[in-house]
Symmetry: C2
Subunit: 122 residues, 2 copies
């Protein structure tokens, strides 16, 4: 879960890819259209599109010799679904954080400022 989310956030955290995502929110575009619109090299666009596709952010549709890309999922409305799920999930049920949660519950608070043993963990 963290791995997938990290991939999505990394893919979005780059200025050219952020621009691509916003442009695709207007309409589906092919590589050569993005090339003309962004004014950057074709390999650079293809490479960024690959990152976005591998993150599940865009879909590809082939038509003749063209590849058209469009936004996938809930991105259009501004929600990054995987992040929302991650933050809303019950931490006690997240395998990737089980070690950390156990340590959090057993913090030796003689050394810390608060009474951890009494704090309510969800």
């Amino acid at each position: 879960m963290i791995q997938q989310l990290e991939t999505v956030l990394k893919a979005l955290g780059e200025p050219t890819r952020l621009k691509i995502v916003k442009l695709l929110s207007v309409r589906e575009l092919c590589v050569c259209e993005l090339e003309a619109v962004l004014g950057i090299s074709q390999p650079r666009i293809s490479q960024h599109l690959r990152v976005l596709k591998e993150a599940g952010i865009v879909n590809e549709r082939k038509e003749r010799q063209r590849s058209f890309y469009s936004l996938a999922g809930t991105l259009k409305t501004g929600e990054i679904a995987s992040f929302a799920e991650y933050m809303r999930a019950e931490i006690a049920h997240m395998p990737e954080l089980s070690t950390e949660v156990a340590r959090l519950q057993n913090l030796d608070c003689n050394e810390a400022v608060r009474k951890c043993k009494n704090s309510s963990l969800p």
Copy 2:
């Protein structure tokens, strides 16, 4: 706007920082607590916290010799506000994309598949 958003997404797109953010959603924690909970070195934690703080994702509160960090903003509910704003914003009003929008409207569609001049841009 893109710059600020990029900073936030880059800050979140890293596994240790994603864990920190989730742990801070449980409660405020100081550096030494995070050190004990995550089981990684103190400088590494301080460095990640600096990235999160510079992105406006966490707040710092000093108490005695401790620094307590807590989640800022709407992150708790899973919304990345700056991304939501970015995606919902009217592209025609975004200075960072004015060049691209102009090119998009003037795409030479003899070369492309669709009738761009007639397409409705928001």
